[in-house]
Amino acid sequence: MAVSKEPSHTGEDQTVELRDPMMAALLAWLVPGLGHYYQGRTAKAILFFVCIMGTFLYGLYLGGSNELGWGRAVYASWHPGGRRLPYLCQIGIGLPAMPALVQAVRASKGEKPWSRFMAPPRPDFTEEVSDSVRGALADQPSLDELNRRLHRFFEFATVYTMVAGLLNVLAIYDAWGGPVSPEKDEDDEEEDGERDEEKAAAKS
């Protein structure tokens, strides 16, 4: 299904062809910018990919080390006492945050995470988890240890990766529905005025 959207007030005299919005939205969720690339909006695809993936990757870098493993601020955990709500924002970025889900599912089945990358931390005594989960995560650093070793960078990493996920929600909407028309501002009105004058001059 191809949907055309009328140009917004910005004077951008172009029609945005939104090729299969649902598929574009799905692709935009999986990889930032992929939905726009699918629609042929290459410049915006590159912009979204660089900005959103750059923010997410920097967050992964801040929230880890060679010793602790990388991307420790991105992990999924839903057991009572250890729910990781920031992951609900982080998953907005799609595939790049998926390893955390895989690691959490492995741990919930009592299997050891395949590496420290995005693995859940070792549960402490307040968390209600089964012995098999506790055994699977026995090698992982605890949340206390991550905070102690990474200091404030653990929080910075959480914020960076959450913001990246939330920004991708905006990009998904743009892939699905096209650009939102902003309100007119003085600059735009000035440009519209200049454009009208040029058109009038061309007609005469």
Binding site: T10, K44, C51, G54, T55, V159, G178, P179, P182
Partner: protein, 63 residues
């Protein structure tokens, strides 16, 4: 001067740039319009942060 260079507030700068660009890109299609809008939003965010900073500084000064 050294404290300014090593201040944690610098971690906000990449976020301000990324948020401004992505937000502006959801409002326009042409790159020129996106950059213009992003500059405006970025300036607004930094200005807001400066105002909050000044309010906090004044609070400390009057304490």
């Amino acid at each position: 001067m050294e404290s300014l260079l090593t201040n944690d507030l610098w971690f906000a700068l990449p976020l301000v740039i990324a948020v401004s660009l992505v937000y502006a890109a959801t409002r326009h299609e042409s790159m020129r319009a996106i950059l213009r809008h992003a500059t405006r939003i970025g300036t607004w965010i930094v200005g807001f942060m400066v105002v909050v900073f000044l309010v906090l500084e004044l609070g400390i000064w009057y304490q």
